[in-house]
Symmetry: C7
Subunit: 94 residues, 7 copies
């Protein structure tokens, strides 16, 4: 199990089948990086300069939109994840 | 539904029919990026370093002017939105 | 009406007839950007890190000097304005 | 009258007749920018993050040394001034 | 023994045998830098601007994922370690 | 008299006769900038964000070592000085 | 005697005889900068934004590892030292 530190969140990217306007399915290499993901683990929060800890605004299971290119890709037990800071999460989709 | 995080705001860009001085309607690709939009969702606010949460100064329905090129374009349920930080909102038009 | 956010100010640039040393009136494109303007609207102020709101030092009607190239040009109801941060205002002319 | 904002100061540059080692008086264009000036107006001070206002350490009439190239040149009623931040003032000459 | 200062952590990189898709074991020089390590020593924590000391979120023995290229490689008593800041630790693997 | 502002210090550079390994005295132009000086005036201190004033750690007469290239050279009453910030002073030599 | 200011530390670099894998002793010019040193003097500490002074975590005599290229080389009474900030000290070796 991956336990992210501080204000970090572990994300599983959501696959999208991408079809161009002319109807051709693109191979992986020309696809854009995904912008949507599902939160699989959250850190304990960010520590403010007065010592107070602020819990994250997302929870496990949330479907989120995050900044393209944000975060670091990691592979744990053969599965790929993205670890990003909460500040790179733009919104939750409900 | 998109629920933006922190000091972020979801915006629907307002279309303008753009006509050049010589009267020719320009196709999409040469148009300038819009600078006006309508707020469709707002985050819960910005957290100060003393832990206090500051609510945003805009509310859903506000017509706003925002910095060109600010924010991230997202597509949710086939519709395009822009997610921007409140600091990139210059003014509200009343 | 434009209502600027936070520490922003809406300015109407003051026109100057510019004459070069040799006496030729320059067309618009080679003129320098104006450095003087009149405040037409002010934001509610800047929020400090302790949550306190600081009112702006300029008020509507003030004639000001501001940093060249500062701010964003906007066009509202056919009229051109400049939206700048208070920190780009150098002085008030009385 | 120019009333500078915040921690800004209005300065009148002090002219120096510059003579090179070989005794030739240089024309204006090759002279170095002046580093000395006289304070003609001071702002109300800098606002700290706790909301406290700190008065400036210089007063009208002070002869000062300031960083080369600092500030913005302005022309008010035909006279040239420099508006600089107090942090660009290095010292007062008594 | 190495005793890291402040928010720093000493890490022993975990070796992985890297095999390309075509099954060829790569020599050291073309391998990627490791992203996993084991914590062998931790600092006393980060000092906040209010003087409070915040203990680290990792402890000796933790298996961690850290940002590629972060930290400084050191060699102590013939053994190689990496000294990194806690902010470059992304997650703990349990 | 020069009275430096805030955390600034006025320094008189200490001359060193520089001799290369081969014994040739170098002319001024190829010498390194001096790194040692004597404090001739100190500012009233640095203002912290809580409004508190912190007195400088050096006093008039101290022989100091400072960062190469730090500060601004000024000439007052025909004499050359260097005005530097206290943070560019590395150490006092006793 | 050198008395460093604030959070600075004076270090005496520890010499290492460097031998390449093929057994050739390298001349000085191609050696790496040393990463180990012995603390010979420490400053009085860092001043936080609330005015509190934080003592350094190293003391005279400590053998330390520091960031390559950090600090400023000085020569006092014919001996070479390095003056670095405490934040560039990675660890103490015990």
């Amino acid at each position: 199990m991956i336990k992210p530190l501080g204000d970090r969140v572990v994300i599983e990217a959501l696959a999208k089948e991408e079809v161009t306007k002319s109807g051709i399915v693109l191979p992986d290499t020309v696809k854009e990086k995904p912008q949507e993901g599902k939160v699989v683990a959250v850190g304990t929060g960010r520590t403010l300069e007065n010592g107070q800890k602020v819990a994250l605004d997302v929870t496990v299971g949330d479907k989120i939109i995050f900044s393209k290119y944000a975060g670091t890709e990691v592979k744990v037990e053969g599965k790929e994840y993205l670890i990003i800071s909460e500040r790179d999460i733009l919104a939750v989709i409900e």
